[in-house]
């Protein structure tokens, strides 16, 4: 991802397409941008992570080492917690 001027409007513009907004006059928490930023970079994070998992698996297979079982996708919450 490149650093360039005008990044903030592009983050907001893209993020608005990805979330469900409600128009309002309101005080917007600064952290709102952080949530939207995560949504924006999610694709890249998922792709990088998936690539690393396959890469690590390949390396483990070649080197004969067991894979790290902790690097699995999260499960659904236990009953009654969602």
């Amino acid at each position: 991802m490149k650093m360039r001027n005008g990044f903030e409007p592009s983050v907001l513009a893209l993020a608005i397409l990805l979330v469900t907004p409600v128009d309002a006059w309101a005080y917007v928490d600064p952290g709102t941008g952080s949530y939207l930023f995560q949504v924006l970079i999610a694709g890249g994070l998922a792709a990088t992570y998936t690539f690393r998992r396959y890469w690590d698996a390949l390396k483990s297979a070649v080197q004969g080492k067991p894979r790290d079982p902790s690097k699995t996708a999260p499960r659904h919450p236990p009953n009654g917690m969602a």
Partner: protein, 447 residues
């Protein structure tokens, strides 16, 4: 000091049960990553909303992120990310990522906020992402890439170093590191700040779009970014202090023997639970305290790089009873936060059963301009027994300190030192350290 209990209100019953029933609590406690607790029958009559009361294992000494060296903060950051990863694997999530949720027991970082875990809702972003970056990543990056003294920014910004500030303080070289570019520089620019907070715009009601794989990718990316941050402590006046002291090996040995003997005497009398080593440097005498008492030792030093070296040595030895902390006694940690009550001052976290103040008083009196009577009052507040060293003005090290200070410290003498300390302490023993003009005292606070 009382016993800390924690009340779980009915509104958090499902969160708490989720932690227990998912098996996460058992896993984290077994691996000593989360503070263990027992449920106690201690319902308070004026707290009908209570669902349970927990008595966690008591932390021997509460410390704060601005008192930690780089490696301590890094260990706390990696622990937090590890917990988030383990929670996700059981369908849970860390609901906040405050550095104050981590404490140290010796060299071991442990998470203390049992109620921080909640259900993971697929697709949602990680709520405390910004908090994690401000509490951990920003100060760590500043120490690693700018200057170690910037760790002290957390004293002022007790809810984390603002990302825009960190972004401006970090050098240009940080912008070629993908992790720092993403999680600090770009992240800071995404925050809605200033007048834009009032602009008619969007209030986000649903945050979806971060898949479980992306969530793991975020935690993985943060982990790699933190793990790649390195701090090599430079040599400083204090880290090389012992190499340049005017002690001979025999004098040093005599001082250690005396200190060990007196610590044993105090231990036999009181079963000391806490020793504070003031001006501990890299911990020679802190280690002595662990071998001659059963106490937990808090080792304070003003120099970040010295504390860093001491902490690394503790990790290497697996030392569970020494906690090195950054603390400048001329400006010790103050009470901070709402109503001066969120973070306690150093004095409020005392007193210790035994204080060690070795080769320290002359720095406070001459270097710090603190009157000897005030120094005595401070130690009387901080500990009930004291082993203290007085270095007279004839000593070559003190001579060097006095050289540029003229006659300002004309009353700095053994007699005035003893007179000042005898107001608050009773001198039980004193001995000249062999081969020096220095005197070691064992004192007991007057009640």
């Amino acid at each position: 000091m009382g016993i800390v209990h924690r009340q779980v209100n009915a509104g958090f019953e499902q969160h708490y049960r989720g932690l227990i029933d998912s098996g996460l609590y058992e896993e984290l406690v077994r691996e000593r990553l989360l503070i263990p607790h027992v449920e106690v029958d201690l319902r308070l009559p004026d707290a009908p909303e209570a669902f349970a009361v927990l008595r966690p294992e008591q932390v021997p000494f509460i410390s704060y992120p601005y008192e930690w060296c780089f490696s301590q903060l890094k260990a706390a950051a990696l622990l937090t990310l590890d917990l988030q990863r383990r929670a996700l694997a059981r369908g849970l999530v860390l609901r906040d990522a405050s550095a104050y949720n981590v404490q140290f027991i010796g060299h071991r970082a442990v998470f203390i906020d049992t109620l921080s875990f909640g259900p993971y809702v697929e697709g949602t972003p990680w709520l405390p992402y910004r908090q994690f970056c401000e509490h951990f990543l920003a100060p760590l990056a500043l120490i690693a890439h700018a200057h170690h003294s910037l760790g002290q920014l957390s004293r002022v910004h007790i809810d984390g170093v603002p990302l825009d500030l960190a972004s401006r303080l970090l050098p240009l070289s940080s912008r070629i590191r993908p992790g720092l570019v993403t999680h600090i520089h770009l992240h800071s620019r995404s925050l809605v700040t200033g007048p834009r907070q009032h602009t008619r715009g969007t209030v986000v009601t649903q945050h979806r779009g971060v898949s479980p794989t992306a969530m793991l990718g975020l935690i993985d990316s943060l982990t790699r970014t933190i793990a790649n941050l390195e701090f090599e402590p430079p040599e400083t006046l204090w880290s090389t202090y012992s190499e340049h002291s005017n002690y001979s090996a025999a004098s040093q040995q005599h001082k250690q023997t005396l200190t060990a003997e007196w610590l044993s005497v105090i231990e036999a009398r009181t079963s000391a639970r806490k020793v504070v080593d003031f001006g501990a440097n890299t911990g020679t005498f802190s280690r002595l305290a662990t071998t001659h008492t059963s106490a937990y030792v808090v080792a304070l030093d003003l120099d970040h790089t010295t504390v860093e070296r001491h902490f690394r040595a503790c990790v290497q030895r697996g030392d569970a009873r020494i906690l090195p902390l950054v603390q400048d006694l001329r400006n010790p940690s103050a009470a901070a936060g709402w109503h001066h009550a969120e973070r306690r001052s150093l004095a409020e976290r005392g007193p210790a059963d035994v204080g060690l103040a070795l080769a320290l008083v002359h720095h406070l009196a001459i270097g710090g301009n603190v009157p000897l009577t005030e120094i005595a009052v401070f130690f009387a507040q901080m500990c009930s027994a004291l082993i203290v060293e007085f270095i007279p003005s004839e000593d070559s090290q003190v001579q060097r300190m006095l050289a540029l200070r003229g006659g300002v410290f004309a009353d700095y003498s053994r007699q005035t030192f003893e007179a000042a300390f005898q107001r608050t302490f009773e001198v039980e023993q004193s001995m000249t350290i062999a081969g020096t003009q220095r005197t070691l005292y064992m004192m007991r606070r007057r009640e």
